[in-house]
């Protein structure tokens, strides 16, 4: 139908916004003839892509893609290693070689169905820590819109009689315990006072403690891994 023609082409070109865009998306979902017209235009405009010069991406591209995929995958693979000095007056000792990798991920929107212009998605803070001797994978994610903390650990190494305790340290503040780590995924809502600590500049760390956790409420053992949180 000729009335499909401009709308389908406009949809493919991304000319549409607001109500017109919503209308086109509804049609795409419910009208096969419209969907065919959209496919027609995608195919016909496609040769224009060849006018765009290729650009070599960063050599880190694959590693970063893997890091993003691993954040939602319980069988996390250990990521890059960096030497880092742990600066924390209350920590017993700096970790000799802690894995520090901060990955910021925005929830991925649906593909092929352009969204109307909306406010940016909910801020997400993420830290990924994995280290030989600690865990194959450990990720901590905090969603400020839900005030929810998600911790996923795989293949934790915990010597008999010891524990692995997770901490959040506000910038310039003292560590607050988030509890003991165990394999698997756990989510918990945070009380407002604790939630307020989760922002850019805060640090997530894991320490070695006696079984049952620190007896003092502050870290007593070696820092096994530490990383900063970045708000996106």
């Amino acid at each position: 139908m000729s009335e499909n023609v401009p709308l389908a082409a406009e949809y493919v070109l991304r000319l549409l916004e607001g109500e017109e865009l919503l209308d086109a998306r509804r049609r795409l979902a419910g009208d096969p003839a419209f969907a065919d017209e959209v496919a027609f235009w995608e195919d016909r405009f496609a040769p224009l892509f060849d006018e765009i010069a290729d650009e070599p991406p960063s050599p880190e591209l694959w590693a970063r893609i893997v890091a993003r995929l691993d954040l939602t995958d319980p069988t996390v693979v250990t990521l890059r290693r960096q030497v880092n000095r742990w600066k924390g007056a209350t920590m017993a000792a700096a970790a000799a070689a802690a894995v520090l990798l901060v990955v910021a991920v925005r929830p991925t929107p649906p593909v092929q169905q352009p969204k109307p212009t909306v406010a940016a998605p909910a801020p997400l803070l993420v830290a990924a820590l994995g280290k030989e001797g600690l865990a194959e994978g450990l990720t901590v994610a905090y969603r400020s819109d839900r005030r929810e903390l998600a911790v996923t650990a795989s293949k934790l190494t915990v010597p008999a009689g010891r524990a692995r305790e997770l901490w959040v340290i506000p910038a310039g503040g003292t560590p607050i315990s988030l509890g003991l780590l165990s394999d698997g995924s756990a989510r918990r809502p945070l009380a407002p006072e604790l939630a307020a600590v989760f922002k850019s500049g805060a640090t997530i760390a894991v320490s070695d403690e006696p079984g049952g956790g620190s007896p003092t409420g502050q870290p007593t053992g070696e820092v096994l891994a530490a990383t900063g949180l970045i708000l996106i």
Partner: protein, 177 residues
């Protein structure tokens, strides 16, 4: 070969995703950079594109589209989503500048189109009015919407829509021949 790799991606094969990345990342980076004009943002967008590909590979239908077209479309859409989500945007480049960029020829490993398909769209674009043609190209290559095109050309929104819709109808007629 890409279609086969995407099929394996749909079954959760990460090596297959790597194959797709290796073969197409230069092309898709070009697309992201063209729309976003900022390398760091384009790199972020590119990662998001392949995460999308990972999650949506099962929805790719090889009988309806070519793999590289699908991938380039995913990249263009993701770049435009990010472009439109920016709260502060640089002023759109004047049309003369856009011409310069558009005339670059890709030197890519993975071309989208056969020469005759390419000739067809270029021929048909040449049969429509100059302004409509330039606006359609600006929409494609820069991700500009109707309101943005109208602002750039300093014409009412309704005028821009009429120009482009007439152009698209004529384009359609030509493409059917």
């Amino acid at each position: 070969m890409l279609a086969e790799a995407l099929e394996r991606v749909a079954r959760g094969d990460r090596d297959a995703l790597r194959t797709v990345v290796d073969r197409t990342s230069a092309k898709l980076m070009g697309v992201c950079l063209r729309i976003l004009k900022d390398r760091d943002e384009a790199e972020d967008a590119l990662q998001e594109v392949y995460v999308s590909v990972w999650m949506r590979a099962a929805s790719f239908d090889a009988s309806r589209a070519s793999p590289i077209t699908w991938l380039a479309t995913v990249a263009r859409n993701r770049a435009i989503d990010r472009f439109r989500a920016r709260s502060v945007r640089a002023a759109p480049a004047p049309i003369e500048e856009a011409h310069g960029l558009a005339d670059e020829r890709a030197d890519g490993f993975e071309q989208v189109a056969e020469k005759q398909e390419s000739a067809r769209i270029h021929h048909c674009l040449s049969t429509i009015d100059g302004p409509a043609r330039e606006m359609i190209r600006a929409a494609f290559f820069e991700g500009l919407s109707y309101p943005q095109l109208a602002a750039r050309a300093a014409v009412p929104l309704g005028t821009m829509k009429s120009w482009i819709r007439r152009g698209l109808q004529r384009l359609r007629t030509c493409l059917e021949e």
